[in-house]
Amino acid sequence: MALSAEESGRLAALLGGHAERVTQRWTEIVAGSLRGRLSQAELRRQVQDLHSAIVATGEHGAIDLSAESAAELRAALSDLSRGRARQGFSATETAISVFALKDVLAGLVEEAGGDNALRDYIAFSRLIDEMGLFTFESFVRTRESLIADQAEQLLELSTPVVKLWEGVVAVPLVGTLDSARAQVVMERLLQTLVDTGSPYAIIDITGVPAVDTQVAQHILKTVVAARLMGADCIISGIRPQIAQTIVALGIEFGDIATKASLADALRHVLRLNGVETARRQPRRDV
C-alpha cells in the first residue's frame, strides 16, 4: 500500500511547492464541512501540521504509513483525531479533514499534467485513504477511552459514602452492583471507616433492583472486610420482593443485622449505643 520513493518525492514536491495554496484550499474545504465549529486559526494550524508532516515524510523516501519513517505523520493524524474526538466532532467529520486533501490534489495533479498524472493521482488517493482510515481508527480509540473514563467517573459519583451520624457511615447502593462497582463500594466504604473511625456502617440496598448470588456475595465480602477493621455492618432497604427472593435463592446473611429501611437501621445503631430516639420517647404535650 506504500508509495514508491519516486511517487513520494513527487507528492512532496507537489505539496511543498504550492504550500500556501494547498493549505489555503484544504482549510477552506474542511471549514465548510465543520460549519464554523472550529476556529479558522486552529483549523489552519492543524492543516499546516498535516501538510508539513506529509511533505517531510515524502522527502525522506517511500511513504509507508505503517513504517518507522512515518512516525511523525502518524502522530499528526493521531493529534488531529484526538483533538476532534475530545471536541465532540463525529468520526466522519474528522475523516473528511483528511480526505479533503484528495480534492486539493486532484486540481494540482491535473495542472501539473505529465505521463504519470493519472497513475500518481491513484497512488496518492490510496495513501490518503489509508491516512483517513488511520484517523478514523484513532478517533474511535480516543472515543472509547473517553467513554471508559466517563463510566469510571460515574461509578465514583454513584457510590457516595456518607457520614450519617457520629460513628455511623452509610452507602446507598443504586442500580446494578456488578463486580467493578462492588469493588469501588468496598474500597470507599473501608476508606471512610478508617477516615472517620466509625464503628458502624449501613449498606442500603433500596436502589438495587435485584439481589442475586453475585450481589449477595459482594455484600457479604464487604461486611467481612469491615468486620476485620472492627466495624459492624447493617444491611438496610430490603424490600418485601427482595426478601422473598433472597429466601428462595437460599442466601443467608447469618448474624448480619438487616433492616427494612435506612431509618430503621440508624435507629438500631443508635439504640445499641444507648441513644434514645424520638420513636421510643413518650409523647409529651407542652
Binding site: 463486580s179 439481589v211 442475586d212 456475595q217 420482593q241 427472593t245 435463592l249
Partner: protein
Amino acid sequence: MTAGIDLGHPQAQAIRSDEDVVRVRQLVRGVAVAVKLSLVDQTKVVTAASELARNTLVYGGGGTVEVATVDNGRRRGVRIVFADSGPGIPDLDLAFTDGYTTGGGLGLGLSGARRLVDEFEIETSPETGTRITVTKWSR
C-alpha cells in the same frame, strides 16, 4: 416441551459479557411486566435469569438467551431459554446441591434459580453444552 403457545417472536440476546447479563435482566423484566407478573414474581424471575445468564457466561463460555411470552389458555407467563456450547455439567445432582461451586461462588445459582421459577428443564452434555428452559406463570 412444556405446554404453552408462544405469542409473538422470542427476543434473543447474546451473553458474552457482564453488560449482557444486565441486558438479559432488563429484557426479562420487560416481558415479566408485560405479562403482568406480580412485583414479587417479576423480581424472582429476573433474579433467576440473572443467575442462569451468569452461569452461561462463566461456565458455558458465553451463549445465547431467548425470552418469550407464553400463554396456556388460562395464564400468561414468561419463558426463557439459555443455551451455551460449553463443557456441560457432568454431575447434575452435585451441581444442584446448595453450596456446591467450582468457581468460588455461593453455589446457590442453579438450585436457587430452580426454586424461583415454576418450570425448570435442563439438558446438558459435553457434546451439546447446556440448555436450560425456565417458565414463570402469572397468578
